[in-house]
């Protein structure tokens, strides 16, 4: 046995479900020492969180069952200690933070109460706990700590909530901090800040950090060692640099290959006529300005990306163009006709020509409709293709076009994985043979390798069918691979626009520069270079 601080040894966990036993993790071993950062990298369903949950004893048993293995902390096997002993260790010696801080903070208590409870629950006096809470809230960079203690979780932004969670986790100076996708829900600039904070705190306290993530960029930025998980097994382990440059397992190679941002940058052929043009679109919600004088042009066959962080108004732009939201003023000209002022009858015809693919296919597909019904609904609406046999043939053809099988037509959305669902959503959009597809974060919810497949599919459709795309995204790597023109939005305004190559090579606006700098590269060497450059004058 090595003398690591926390060691998971040969752990296997099964889940007993109604459809049989699922081997969530099999023979997984990893360890982490004081002052060290271990990243557990994997896609959804790879079992990357299961071993950490076993460490914290928060697996639901049943359905989970620990089949074999030991978890050693400080020489004792955590799987053998009593519940009470384990509870005393949780939070005090081993702390955990989660992906979505909003759902892990209780909305009816003040933040201060919840942070203090962390210490009082472990038998510390309340006044000492309060002092420590104040100190930590200031340390994690929340402005006005005294006032912050009396606020409720909803009064903070997503990044601040994650900082509060970190503060809460560090209250009792734990030896180990387990962070499960701590920055996935955050914007890139905030993500960079939170990662930097974690690193600083680690240097100060000397704790061991276990970071569970799907993002190669995060691994490159922060990890000392990495284990790559696939289908419940560790397929590769080593330093980030070693794994990135010398991946042995095919899965790791595929994962690295799928990381966006490496393809050739596309150049726009501007000879095509203008398809969509917005002029000075404005939209406010009360005092909040969602859109301010947004003007853009989209040519036939072009793929125009709109980039920005949450709250920048990029989704409102799409919703205003599609009349899901009524713009306050301005025009959106579709082939010269104003969409905003269009009458319902006229709009129906245009609805066929512009389709949308939403962020989350789980929510954008009606769960009670079969794939056939979903895809053919557009024909019902627009009274197209009355012949049933022709419809069935076309649905089958569309499914094949997006990489699914014709026999999938009788199934329901829940029987598919996230990536397959997004393909169904794309097939639905294609059914009406649109000229423009608006993708609102269409690939953000997908795993990297599936993301790459969907992007390749969209790109193929653009080439073969000449469809134009308005591509809304926050992930700059994806944008770089797919778009020929980029618009950068901040607080409802366009701050920069230009060909993709120019934006990535020489960003003009400070916000664009910040955005690009915060974007993590999957290559640890490039990331290290950036860090040293950033530390310079």
């Amino acid at each position: 046995m090595s003398n690591a601080l926390l060691e998971v040894h040969n752990l296997s966990v099964d889940f007993h479900t109604a459809r049989g036993t699922v081997h969530a993790v099999r023979h997984v071993s990893w360890s982490v020492n004081r002052g060290e950062t271990l990243a557990i990298l994997g896609e959804s369903g790879s079992g990357k969180s299961v071993s950490a949950n076993a460490v914290m004893n928060i697996l639901d048993r049943p359905p989970a069952q620990i089949v074999s293995g030991e978890i050693f902390y400080d020489g004792q096997d955590l799987l053998k200690v009593s519940y009470e002993t384990h509870r005393a260790l949780n939070g005090k010696k081993i702390a955990m933070i989660f992906q979505d801080p909003l759902s892990h903070l209780n909305p009816v208590y003040t933040v201060g109460w919840q942070i203090v409870e962390m210490m009082t629950a472990h038998g510390r006096p309340a006044d000492a706990a309060r002092a420590r809470a104040l100190e930590l809230i200031a340390r994690v960079g929340i402005p006005d700590p005294e006032a912050a203690l009396h606020k409720y979780p909803h009064q903070f932004s997503g990044g601040q909530r994650q900082r509060l969670m970190i503060a809460m986790a560090l209250m009792l100076k734990p030896d180990i901090l387990i962070a499960d996708e701590p920055t996935t829900a955050l914007d890139v600039t905030i993500q960079a800040e939170v990662l930097a904070l974690l690193k600083e705190l680690q240097a100060e306290t000397g704790m061991g950090l276990v970071l569970i993530t799907h993002d190669l960029g995060v691994v490159a930025e922060i990890a000392d060692r990495v284990v790559v998980m696939s289908k419940g097994e560790i397929v590769e382990a080593g330093t980030p640099r070693g794994v990135y440059h010398n991946a042995q397992h095919p899965y790791t190679r595929q994962l690295i290959g799928a990381a966006p941002g490496k393809g050739e940058i596309r150049v726009l052929d501007s000879a095509e006529p203008v398809l969509l043009e917005t002029r000075k679109l404005c939209k406010t919600y009360g005092k909040f300005t969602a859109l301010h004088d947004v003007s853009l042009t989209l040519h036939r066959g072009q793929s125009l990306a709109v980039v920005g962080e949450s709250g920048s108004g990029k989704s409102t732009l799409a919703r205003a163009i599609l009349r899901l939201e009524k713009a306050d003023s301005g025009e959106a000209l579709w082939k010269g006709r104003d969409l905003i002022a269009m009458k319902p009858g006229e709009l129906l015809g245009v609805r066929r020509e512009i389709q949308m693919v939403f962020q989350d296919p789980t929510q954008s597909l009606n769960p009670r409709m079969s794939v056939y019904q979903l895809i053919s609904e557009g024909w019902d609406i627009h009274r197209l293709m009355p012949d049933r046999a022709a419809r069935q043939a076309k649905v089958a053809a569309l499914l094949e076009q997006v990489g699914l099988a014709p026999e999938h037509a009788q199934r329901y959305p829940h029987q598919f994985s996230g990536g397959q669902r997004q393909r169904i959503a794309i097939a639905r959009a294609l059914a009406l043979e649109p000229e423009l597809i608006i993708c609102d974060e269409a690939v953000s919810a997908l795993d990297v390798s599936i993301q790459a497949q969907v992007i390749a599919l969209l790109d193929d459709l653009r080439k073969r069918l000449g469809i134009s795309f308005l591509f809304i995204a926050h992930d700059l790597g994806v944008v770089r691979d797919f778009a020929d023109t980029v618009i950068v939005m901040k607080s409802g305004e366009i701050v920069e626009r230009g060909p993709t190559g120019d934006i990535f090579a020489a960003p003009q606006h400070p916000y664009t520069q910040r955005l690009l700098a915060a974007n993590l590269d999957p290559d640890p060497d490039i990331q290290a270079q950036r860090r040293s450059a950033g530390m310079g004058p």
């Binding site: 479900t17 109604a18 459809r19 049989g20 699922v22 599609l322 899901l324 709009l347 129906l348 609805r351 066929r352 512009i354 389709q355 949308m356 939403f358 989350d360 929510q363 954008s364 597909l365 009606n366 769960p367 009670r368 409709m369 079969s370 609904e377 557009g378 019902d380 609406i381 627009h382 026999e407 009788q410 199934r411 329901y412 829940h414 029987q415 598919f416 994985s417 959503a425 639905r428 009406l432």
Partner: protein
């Protein structure tokens, strides 16, 4: 887990009715419930014409005769009532009026409440306000008082009973429907339908209503028992069903004074109400699962392992 379901061989080509029946067979409780309900419906349809005579024939010697005594003939197996009429025959005959009033009132309330709720939830604020305040008026007005006034003016009859009972139950469906519609219409798939150009009618019928229906059906089955008992209290006041016409609810209230010496007078009709409600509830529970594509495998899972 998604992989597992995809690997499953495609379902054989069976008609929709056959699939439903086989799913009903998988859930034994629901299957029994369906049979019980069928029996009750049969009683309601055939009972009065077959046993009407027997049920109203008084036999003062058999007053409050105890149950499980076959000496007076099979009709008295559940005992006799305070006028010596056989309980079993009366229960069977009473099924018709009971079912008519309860089903009529629930169906009417469900239809009107759901329609108004859909309108209130889907249309703008002003329409919604008018409808909701109307519902508040109905809810705040004592329902018994309303019933007394209406039935006194219109005269006690089964259609009027249905009307009165339905009106008092409408707000329940209305409020539930509206609340669910408000939530469902913000869902992404409704937005996706709007983007495709779907009409309001289509969005309501294809996207909103199927999501709301299971909740409404569950409430409706629970409401069935409530309506049966509400009808009995109206009958107790003399403005409901009039003897010699008979309902289970009326039998319960007529049997109440005799509870200490002839418990069967109130118990049997009470049991009938409980059984009907329970059967409806179990069946609606099955229906909720059978109609939900994401849940349906619970009823199909065993069928694939059997084969």
């Amino acid at each position: 887990m998604t992989d597992l379901s995809l690997a499953k061989p495609p379902r054989s080509e069976k008609s929709a009715a056959a699939t439903l029946l086989s799913m009903l067979w998988r859930d034994k409780l629901a299957f029994v419930s369906a049979i019980v309900l069928l029996l009750i419906i049969l009683c309601a349809m055939l009972g009065p014409s077959l046993l009407g005579e027997l049920a109203s024939h008084q036999n003062l010697r058999g007053r409050n005769s105890p149950p499980f005594d076959l000496a007076k003939g099979w009709a008295f197996v559940l005992g006799g009532d305070s006028l010596g009429r056989p309980m079993l025959a009366r229960l069977i005959v009473a099924a018709r009026s009971t079912m008519l009033v309860a089903a009529g009132a629930v169906a009417f309330a469900l239809f009107v409440g759901a329609t108004l709720g859909l309108v209130a939830g889907y249309l703008g604020k002003n329409t919604s306000q008018v409808i909701m305040r109307l519902a508040d008026v109905i809810m705040s007005f004592p329902s018994l008082l309303l019933a007394v006034v209406v039935l006194y003016v219109l005269g006690p009859s089964i259609p009027n009973m249905i009307l009165v009972l339905a009106i008092t139950r409408i707000p329940i469906y209305l409020r539930t429907t509206r609340a669910e519609v408000l939530e469902v219409r913000e869902r992404m798939f409704v937005q996706a339908a709007i983007v495709m150009g779907a009409s309001h009618w289509r969005i309501i019928a294809r996207h909103v209503l199927p999501v709301v229906t299971p909740t409404l059906v569950t409430i409706a089955t629970l409401d069935f028992a409530f309506v049966m008992l509400a009808e009995s209290s109206l009958s107790f006041l003399g403005i409901g069903i009039q003897p010699p016409d008979i309902t289970w609810g009326l039998m319960v209230s007529q049997g109440r004074p005799y509870l200490s010496n002839a418990w069967w007078l109130a118990l049997w009709p009470g049991v009938c109400i409980v059984i009907t409600t329970l059967a409806l509830n179990l069946l609606s529970n099955w229906m909720r699962i059978a109609l939900d594509p994401a849940q349906r495998w619970r009823l199909e899972a065993r069928s694939t392992s059997d084969e």
